[in-house]
């Protein structure tokens, strides 16, 4: 944490950039808001709660003059590559400081464990010491990690200018990211339908998933653009819940970096990443392993083909095995 | 079935269409059973709609003194107006209103000398007031009408201006077009400049409507001439949906343009954030 701040100070002093995009302390001890700092680094913070993916903010930041220093977690760096590949950000206008990540803590999980009225949180090793209006509580941070962290792609940064090496080695048990997808696939169609109906019917169409997504970088989304004929503001019918999420997943298919932000920000806790991961799984199985944002040049699987590609009925046959 | 809510429109039938300019048509509208869909005051608006396309706020251009029908002058500029332009006599539309406030014809304006300044389609809301004043001629003082457009062909209601207004007692009509034109022997030049040239007496009350750029420079000119903002009225247009001050999109400061407007005095506008 202090190492990060020191490094940022050093880099700004060296003039690699005139400002830094990082996380800012907010109202509560766990609020970390994306923010830009110029000279005064007061409030700049990188810790267990800095979960927001900063990559998409670079679209707007790089429209401004000068160069911006950006702190990047491993999972967020894929988004940067994607945005560079799609010409949404100018590599020349960013200076990337790769910061290590030992998984982020999900405040909702802390609260779901019954802890209310939080005043202060201190982190000592794996222990979170939480001071609340209802007394002092303790929690093992490993039990309240963000879901997206439990199945992330690892600690590798795929793009950076400078890196702060990871010095802590925490042993966090990761889960197979396709496990939940496979569980769903194993269900009967009726069960799957029931599952997704109950999840998607919660959608309030707040667009948080879309607006936070580094792959959803359209200047104007088709669902906002009345010229497209599919624009809608609310899910006036359950069809529209399906429509929005299917099309959004399709539009980011082969581009989704699996950063997990969509599910993290969903106010209704819809596991939206399971839609994207289904596409990732299919792509990996049918067209070879592909990780969006691994680099900034490889053509995505939906703008590419081979003559030997599987026929569409492969989906159907799979279910019949 | 018949439920009374300001969001529920009435069906109206188009009973006459006049092509005013290449992109402006004026529509006579009646209730299907005859008569006007509703009564209104000069400056008020109505929500016109073709179901399935959309609804839009349009100012009522006919005067309340017209007891037979209502009129709307509509410029083709978007999806709905495009569709309205394709309508024919006998087609039905929906209309709801009256919406918004109106020019204070029965209070502040009474007995005053009035100056109407309009540009292009901006004449539509003012026409309602002008005809109202002409129909109650004794209640108002001298009337000056300054009206300009790009070309002669773009002057809305040229015939009425020439044959009715210009011939009415104690009414002065000043027309201008932006650039010289063959069949035009009148004034040439932009409205703000023309207003300055006219050297209007500063005790008059001004009612102004037109494109934002015209409003801006005319206002400057009037202030230079010695008018105060309390003497100048205008109408505003913002994106509106409900028309009754509830849906939120026309909210500026504490005002809702659809409900508290569209008619504002410039001193009132000064107190609002510049978000229009």
């Amino acid at each position: 944490m202090q190492r990060v701040i020191d490094k940022v100070k050093e880099l700004l002093a060296n003039g690699v950039a005139d400002r830094v995009l990082a996380w800012k302390v907010g109202e509560f001890p766990y609020d970390r808001i994306p923010g830009v700092f110029k000279d005064d680094l007061d409030g700049l913070c990188y810790d267990s709660f800095s979960a927001c993916n900063l990559s998409k903010y670079l679209i707007n930041e790089t429209k401004k003059d000068g160069r911006v220093l950006v702190l990047m977690k491993p999972c967020d760096s894929y988004g940067v590559n994607l945005l560079i590949k799609e010409h949404r950000i100018d590599r020349e206008k960013i200076y990337i400081l790769a910061v290590p990540c030992n998984c982020k803590v999900d405040i909702e999980k802390i609260k779901d464990s019954g802890i209310k009225g939080i005043i202060d949180i201190a982190e000592e090793g794996d222990v979170l010491k939480i001071n609340t209006v209802y007394g002092q509580k303790e929690l093992d941070r490993r039990q309240v990690l963000c879901d997206k962290c439990l199945s992330c792609q690892g600690k590798k940064h795929v793009i950076y200018d400078e890196i702060i090496e990871d010095d802590e080695q925490q042993n966090i048990e990761k889960t197979d990211r396709m496990e939940a997808v496979e569980e769903l696939e194993a269900m009967s169609p009726e069960e799957r339908f029931a599952f997704w109906r109950s999840e998607l019917s919660k959608c309030i169409r707040c667009n948080a998933c879309r607006n936070v997504c580094p792959a959803c970088s359209c200047n104007k989304c088709i669902f906002d653009n009345t010229d497209t004929g599919v624009a809608a503001k609310s899910n006036a019918d359950s069809f529209e819940e399906n429509m929005f999420h299917i099309i959004r997943a399709f539009h980011v298919a082969g581009r989704c970096t699996d950063c997990g932000e969509c599910s993290r920000v969903c106010p209704q806790n819809i596991p939206l990443h399971l839609l994207n991961r289904k596409f990732i799984k299919e792509i990996n199985e049918l067209y070879g392993e592909f990780q969006a944002g691994e680099d900034a040049v490889t053509t995505g699987p939906l703008t590419f083909f081979t003559m030997e590609d599987a026929e569409p009925d492969v989906v159907y046959k799979k279910g019949r095995d | 079935m018949s439920r009374n809510d300001m969001l529920i429109p009435k069906v109206a039938v188009i009973t006459g269409i006049t092509t005013q300019t290449p992109d402006v048509k004026t529509y006579k509208v009646n209730a299907p059973e005859g008569g006007k869909p509703f009564e209104h005051m000069p400056g008020q608006c109505a929500m016109l709609s073709i179901p399935g396309i959309s609804e839009a706020m349009i100012s009522i251009t006919s005067s309340p003194t017209n007891k037979e029908y209502m009129e709307f002058s509509i410029k083709r500029c978007g999806c709905l107006t495009e569709a309205i332009h394709a309508l024919e006599e006998g087609d039905e539309i929906t209309v709801r209103g009256p919406l918004g406030n109106h020019f204070p014809v029965e209070s502040e304006l009474k007995g005053k000398d009035l100056v109407f300044i309009a540009g292009g389609i901006g004449l539509a809301p003012l026409r309602s007031v002008i005809n109202y004043c002409l129909d109650n001629r004794d209640d108002y003082g001298e009337i000056d009408i300054v009206y300009g457009s790009r070309t002669k062909q773009d002057l809305v209601g040229f015939e009425e201006i020439q044959n009715v207004w210009a011939k009415a007692p104690n009414v002065n009509v000043y027309l201008t077009i932006d650039n010289p034109q063959e069949d035009w022997d009148g004034h040439v030049g932009f409205v703000p400049n023309y207003v300055k040239e006219l050297n209007l007496s500063v005790d008059k009350t001004v009612l102004m409507c037109g494109p934002p750029i015209m409003i801006k420079f005319t206002l400057q000119g009037l202030i230079e001439l010695g008018f105060t903002k309390e003497q100048i009225y205008t109408t505003m247009e913002l994106r509106m949906k409900c028309g009754i001050g509830k849906c939120g999109r026309c909210n500026i400061g504490s005002k809702y343009v659809c409900k508290d407007g569209p008619v504002f005095r410039f001193d009132e506008l000064d107190e609002l954030p510049d978000e229009y």
Partner: protein, 149 residues
Amino acid sequence: MQIEENKNEEFKPCIVAFCCNWCSYAGADLAGSSRLTYPADVKIIRVPCSCRVNPLFILRAFQRGADGVIICGCHPGDCHYTTGNYYARRRMTLLFGMLDYLGIERERTRVEWVSAAEGAKFAATMSDFIDTVTKLGRNRKLRDLRCKE
């Protein structure tokens, strides 16, 4: 809201077929000029190429009450535009996989490659698809109830 159905009435599915102009639409024409019959439940929309078919169109059809959607294009390798059907193949494979994942009957969607010379295949394919969809019954899972008469 429940979709109520008149049980007495024979179920006639509504099926949309997107056919590429160069192969499958011509194949459909050939089926016609060869007087090969297939049920009238399918209606064809002509598109230049199978790669023109946007997932939006497919969902739109289901929204409006289609019971099945079939996309027909040139055989892989024979695309009039060289590569179009290869892209279509990937897109539709993924989209259909997603529909299946959401629990929507996979059999309601199909891709077939039908050349201009395969009038018989076109007719047979349509008959078979209509048959499949008829057995599935009305599309309930992916339709907009507002559009129900």
